[in-house]
């Protein structure tokens, strides 16, 4: 055949062209999952909504598209004021934690890193205890006291870790240990503060600590969205740096990258996005750890694929899990963090088990 001699050449060009690129099927598949999760989440709940009506409403909500609506106005209100804000919030929180997790895993070159590694959780927890239990009021503009306190606590804890490690972004191990120390310090303070609270208030704090997405209206979504867009863009732009860092610091530097600077930027972006997510949703475990692993199983180890696909899959994952949180013990509600941990912990165990066997 005449094309035969040409074949290897084209094949090489094609392989080179596809390197580091998101494959269309993977992207479409993950996006389809996300859309499915959003529709499922929007239709399930105390008041069930018809799937067709919800899809019509969602598609009709896109500017420029006009569709006959079949939902009653009461159903429309449930959809737009209760169900959808919560679904979108779950998706945004999931995307934030998953992207941050991918970023941290890249920075520490450790696939078992998660976004709470440098003390975000303990810091946010302490902030929440102080705001809910002791009336600490840092509210600022439209941001209420609780999210603001959690955000400030989270950022303070990570800043503390970085300062203790003397800004040593050249040496991630030191940073990691500083994070452990700082998290212990903040957790201890938080636990001490909890013991000083009466039962009602401490229960309120505990339920926040396990993560909750209870929301009324679009407030938390608008609060989180700028962070997701900004920090997400920064993380995506630095995903290639994380790929280069996989070669080790020396080689990265010889290739013209500053590992310390790249780590600083990624840690800053991942911390901001995590702190913002935690401030509106509490501490939701394992999403940030598990999602990048799922993505690795799907598309391989390049952070340029892991970061964006983690965002999409993390969003789909948390939106789906939140259905369970709302419906499993209805009319009561499970903290969503409990379910993510129930799903995430066994997965984590399997990963550990397979690592052990693989070695």
């Amino acid at each position: 055949m005449s094309t035969r001699a040409q074949a290897p050449t084209d094949a090489l060009e094609e392989v080179a062209d596809r390197a580091f690129r998101l494959s269309v099927p993977a992207l479409l598949g993950c996006t389809a999952l996300l859309l499915l999760a959003i529709v499922a989440s929007a239709t399930q709940g105390a008041a069930g909504l018809p799937v067709e009506g919800v899809v019509r409403a969602l598609v009709g909500g896109v500017p420029g598209i006009d569709l006959d609506q079949t939902l009653s106005s009461a159903q429309q209100a449930v959809l737009w004021q209760i169900r959808l804000p919560r679904t979108i919030l779950a998706a945004l929180v999931g995307a934030s934690l998953a992207m941050a997790g991918a970023g941290y895993q890249g920075v520490f070159r450790n696939p078992l890193a998660d976004p709470y590694l440098l003390g975000v959780s303990a810091g946010a927890g302490l902030g929440a205890v102080l705001a809910l239990g002791f009336g600490l009021d840092l509210s600022w503009g439209p941001i209420a006291a609780l999210p603001m306190a959690a955000f400030v606590g989270a950022v303070l804890a990570v800043t503390g870790s970085v300062l203790v490690a003397r800004g040593s972004f050249r040496d991630p191990a030191t940073l990691l240990l500083a994070g452990v120390a700082m998290a212990a310090l903040f957790s201890a303070t938080q636990t001490y503060a909890l013991t000083r609270l009466d039962e009602t208030r401490s229960r309120e704090v505990l339920s926040w600590l396990f993560g909750r997405l209870a929301t009324s209206g679009w407030g938390p979504v608008t609060l989180l969205l700028p962070y997701v867009l900004l920090a997400g863009a920064v993380l995506w732009l630095h995903a290639r740096h994380l790929d280069v860092l996989r070669l080790g610091d020396d080689e990265a530097r010889a290739l013209g990258l500053s590992p310390a600077r790249s780590r600083l930027v990624v840690v800053a972006a991942a911390t901001l996005i995590t702190a913002a997510a935690v401030s509106v949703s509490g501490l939701i475990a394992f999403v940030g750890l598990v999602t990048p692993h799922l993505v690795r199983l799907l598309v391989g180890h390049s952070y340029r694929l892991i970061v964006p696909l983690s965002a999409v899959l993390g969003a789909a994952f948390l939106a789906t899990v939140d259905i369970g949180a709302r419906t499993l013990v209805a009319p009561a509600e499970l903290p969503v963090g409990v379910i993510t941990a129930f799903v995430g912990a066994p997965f984590f165990c399997v990963v550990l088990w397979r690592r052990k066997v693989g070695m």
């Binding site: 060009e13 392989v15 080179a16 995903a239 070669l247 020396d250 080689e251 290739l255 013209g256 390049s302």
Partner: protein
């Protein structure tokens, strides 16, 4: 100026003046002055701990150094000017050969960090030139030692820096693959006008490929010159702390350890031994 440059691209030349490295007060490299022509191959030799690796790493600022390092045109070299092939390159799990090689373009990318069509073309060209076209999809972890060295060379070439530093490029390879890798570098140096500085343990191979050798002793240059000037039994015996013999086999220099006798640290090699040893050495080298 109408005067033609002496060689095709003077900026490929490398000049160092008084390069010094010290770790916590311990001097590791103690003042190295070099003038490398474009297309020259300098072999860096010396015992373990003599500062070969550290000197190479200091040239690309992986360790803090003092002194001057500049290109032939007087400019400060950056990652687009000097590439370093590390002694034991890290091969990340799950990374394909073509991805690994594309990472060599890092210093050439804009702030969006996206490889252009041109970047990808350069990578495929290099892969094809090194006969690695069929490997593009393979995982770097699945490669043999010789193949892995080739993709590291490919990554360095994709970096398109005219000065190539090799840190023990062949220490992990068998003799066949050693020669294969060094032949490849030699061919590239001839065709691309690359300037090569290679730290090597095998003195015979160093002598065979290098135009000049720099012998380091405790971080200081003990000798710099053509291989047959530097590879003398007296000098090597003193610097390496063990008596050695120098043999000539088919026009190549072969350095062999001599048995240590109670009296001789720096013994001259006897002629009778030389012939007998040469024969066995011939079989090994060719």
């Amino acid at each position: 100026m109408s005067e033609q440059p002496a060689h095709p691209n003077p900026s490929h030349a490398l000049r160092t003046r008084d390069v010094r490295v010290a770790f916590d007060g311990t001097v590791v490299v103690a003042g190295v002055d070099l003038d490398l022509r474009t297309g020259e191959w300098l072999g860096l030799i010396g015992p373990n701990g003599s500062g070969k690796s550290t000197f190479l790493r200091s040239l690309v600022r992986l360790v803090p150094r003092t002194g001057t390092v500049e290109l032939g045109d007087g400019s400060q070299p950056g990652p687009t000017d000097i590439s370093l092939m590390p002694q034991s390159p890290e091969l990340p799990p799950g990374m394909s050969v073509v991805e690994y090689v594309l990472l060599g373009r890092t210093a050439h990318l804009g702030w969006l960090s996206l490889e252009s069509r041109e970047d990808r073309r350069i990578a495929t060209d290099v892969l094809r030139r090194l006969g690695l076209g069929d490997f593009a999809r393979r995982e770097v972890r699945s490669l043999s030692g010789g193949e892995a060295q080739r993709i590291v060379i490919a990554r360095a070439l994709v970096q398109q820096s005219p000065v190539l530093l090799l840190d023990e490029p062949t220490s992990a390879l068998d003799v066949g693959h050693q020669v294969e890798v060094l032949e490849l570098v030699d061919e590239l140096r001839r065709h691309e006008g690359l300037t090569v500085v290679a730290a090597m343990h095998d003195l015979g191979l160093a002598a065979r490929y290098a135009d000049r050798l720099l012998l380091l002793e405790h971080g200081s240059p003990a000798a710099l010159g053509a291989p047959d000037e530097v590879l003398t039994a007296d000098l090597l015996s003193r610097v390496y702390g063990h008596p050695v013999r120098i043999h000539h086999v088919d026009g190549h220099l072969v350095v062999l350890p001599a048995p240590r006798t109670p009296t001789s640290g720096h013994r001259k090699v006897g002629d009778g031994h030389q012939k007998a040893l040469s024969r066995s050495a011939t079989e090994e080298v060719s």
